[in-house]
Amino acid sequence: MVNLQKREVSPLSSTTDTPTETQRDDVRDAEIARVRAALGSSVVDSLVKPNDDMWIRVSADAWRSTGETLKSLGYTYFGFISAIDWLPSPYGRGEDDPTAPPVERSSVIKQGYAGGDTRFQVIARLVQPFTTLGINIKVDVDDSLMAIDSWSQVFAGANWHERETHEMFGIGFNGHPDLRNMYLPTDFEGHPLRKDFPLLARMVKPWPGIVDVEPLPGDDSEEEGDAS
């Protein structure tokens, strides 16, 4: 028998002022209110998904102070720092036929939860130990500056994460003691996780698609019939 339980998901709302009727998450609502109060005007946007998670977006110049404030509010466990490139990939999924004319793809940048104004966003996650209440913090990275402050003085673990984000996306971190490549050789050109950096294997040989079945070696008579 079917055992399907669909959970109501609140729409991608920007504020926490309109919880849905089915579920309220008092703990997270209270937390978001406390965080917004502590951070004041740095908070550009926030979102609570009931019984799921919290997101806030802060302005770029308040990035470091956000980290310090959240640490003092009890979010002392360092989760991760990474970035998201919201540009839709011009190469699609690497399934295009190379002989056909190039496919027109939309290059409309559409950000996710808690909105956004720029192509690149840095996202960090901090957790309150013991209660496992976590908060995701996003910040817009200005396209011309391509740099934000570093959290390595606030959370020692941010050091390596910022190195990786820098080499993968090209985002600078002001105040980082040692911003060199984490995984790639020092003379590597380009920033791999950007959407306009092609995945070379797919350029050379596109993925044939979902269904990819070769006939068995003994089925020669059938293969002649439907050569494709």
Binding site: M1, N3, L12, W55, T76, F78, G112, T132, N136, L184
Partner: protein, 390 residues
């Protein structure tokens, strides 16, 4: 001096000059030693560049990336079932555990919850992969420190667990068994009885290791007081799993988080240790294996009947949204931040792997220790290269 010829005089002067140089330059410089990437001690291709003064480390700098496979880029061009197969290979010793948080994140985005039978069996396989992973750690611990015998016992007893996993999923190392909405197949006949026997054997193995290795005075003197990590430093670096609990932080994501897995139906202890040194980390992992066997026993008693897969469309398109799920994996806290834009595959997946954070503490931790202690500390922190380098 006048009795020596010219050449002899020059040679004499040269010898005096050489002596003088040595006496001035007797201040020795440190030696830079490259540990790895090919090395019996590191669990894979980790390279540590250490500057030594005699046998003491002045500074140490791990250089990762020798096994970087570009997972996060690959996930952008794969569909969700394909990503599940990929993600198996991050922590290859406890493979099923890698799939679970990703599948849970995708299910969160779809708003689908697996049937309770599937959740239950997921938890059983999760704990089995934890046991498989940590038994190898216990054996390998001996080899790093010089005791060559426990590792053979560890591999012998781990074979039983791998046989169980193979019987249920078809793959010893890379099960690729989890699906959005449930599991691929149901358990085979005889699995439950066989698992009970194996769990008993593993408890015997834990007792053996405790006698052979942990009770040994040499082991204790090699690991006690080495590599002490205080609580606040551990939290700042994002250490997780047994490393965190060995520093006295009573936090376990199985108990302290509500996920669609069967942990709320079982009774288990969360083991911590106040010391925070290498011995504490090893000891906590040993006790966790014991607890895992008890968890599996309790789970085997209460498997609910029901379907193994929820009703999901054949070709899965996950709606827009972002989700984060992290679980208590064998190595620590592993989490996936999945960003979806309504496609057949994810838009961006950030893989937060436990070993990356665990090893980021080594530059701070390895200052001033002896060379053998580097090996002890790395062994007790326990990392898998696939987890660091993804």
């Amino acid at each position: 001096m006048s009795l020596l010829g010219d050449r002899q005089q020059l040679a004499y002067i040269a010898a005096q000059a050489a002596d003088a140089r040595v006496n001035v330059e007797l201040e020795t410089e440190g030696m830079t030693l490259n540990i790895g990437p090919q090395h019996p001690a590191t669990h894979g291709t980790l390279r540590i560049i250490a500057r030594l003064d005699g046998e003491q480390v002045l500074w140490a700098d791990p250089s990762c990336g020798y096994m970087h496979r570009g997972y996060e880029k690959l996930t952008e061009v794969r569909s969700y079932p394909q990503v599940t197969a990929l993600v198996n290979r991050i922590d290859w010793l406890g493979s099923f555990a890698n799939e679970v948080p990703f599948i849970l994140a995708a299910e969160k985005l779809m708003g689908v919850e697996a049937p309770s039978r599937a959740q239950h069996i997921r938890t059983i396989l999760f704990e089995l992969s934890r046991i498989a992973n940590v038994t190898l750690f216990l054996g390998d611990l001996g080899v790093q420190l010089g005791a060559v015998t426990p590792v053979f016992f560890a591999f012998r007893d781990r074979e039983y667990v791998l046989n169980l996993i193979e019987g249920a999923t078809g793959g010893r190392f890379h099960p690729n068994f989890d699906r959005i909405g449930g599991l691929k197949d149901d358990l085979p006949a005889g699995f439950i009885d066989e698992t009970r026997i194996v769990m008993k054997k593993l408890r015997g193995f834990c007792d053996q290791i405790e006698d052979l290795l942990f009770g040994n005075e040499i082991f204790q003197s090699r690991t006690r007081g080495i590599g002490v990590i205080p609580k606040d430093v551990a939290l700042q670096y994002g250490l997780s799993g047994a490393n965190l609990r060995a520093s006295g932080v009573d936090w376990d994501l199985r108990r302290d988080q509500k996920l669609p897995l069967a942990y709320d139906k079982v009774d288990f202890k969360v083991i911590t240790h106040p010391d925070g040194d290498s011995f504490a980390r090893c000891w906590v992992r040993l006790q966790e294996v014991r607890e895992s066997t008890r968890i599996v026993d309790q789970l085997l008693d209460t498997i609910p009947a029901g379907p193994i897969m929820a009703k999901v469309p054949k070709i899965i398109k996950v709606p827009e949204g972002e989700a984060w799920v992290s679980t208590e994996n064998p190595l620590g806290e592993m989490g996936y931040y999945v960003v979806s834009q309504g496609d057949m595959g994810p838009f961006r997946v950030k893989i937060r792997s436990a070993s990356f954070n665990n090893i980021s503490i080594t530059p701070w931790l390895l200052k001033g220790v002896y060379v053998p202690d580097i090996i002890t500390i790395l062994a007790s922190l326990y990392f898998i290269l696939g987890d660091i380098d993804r």
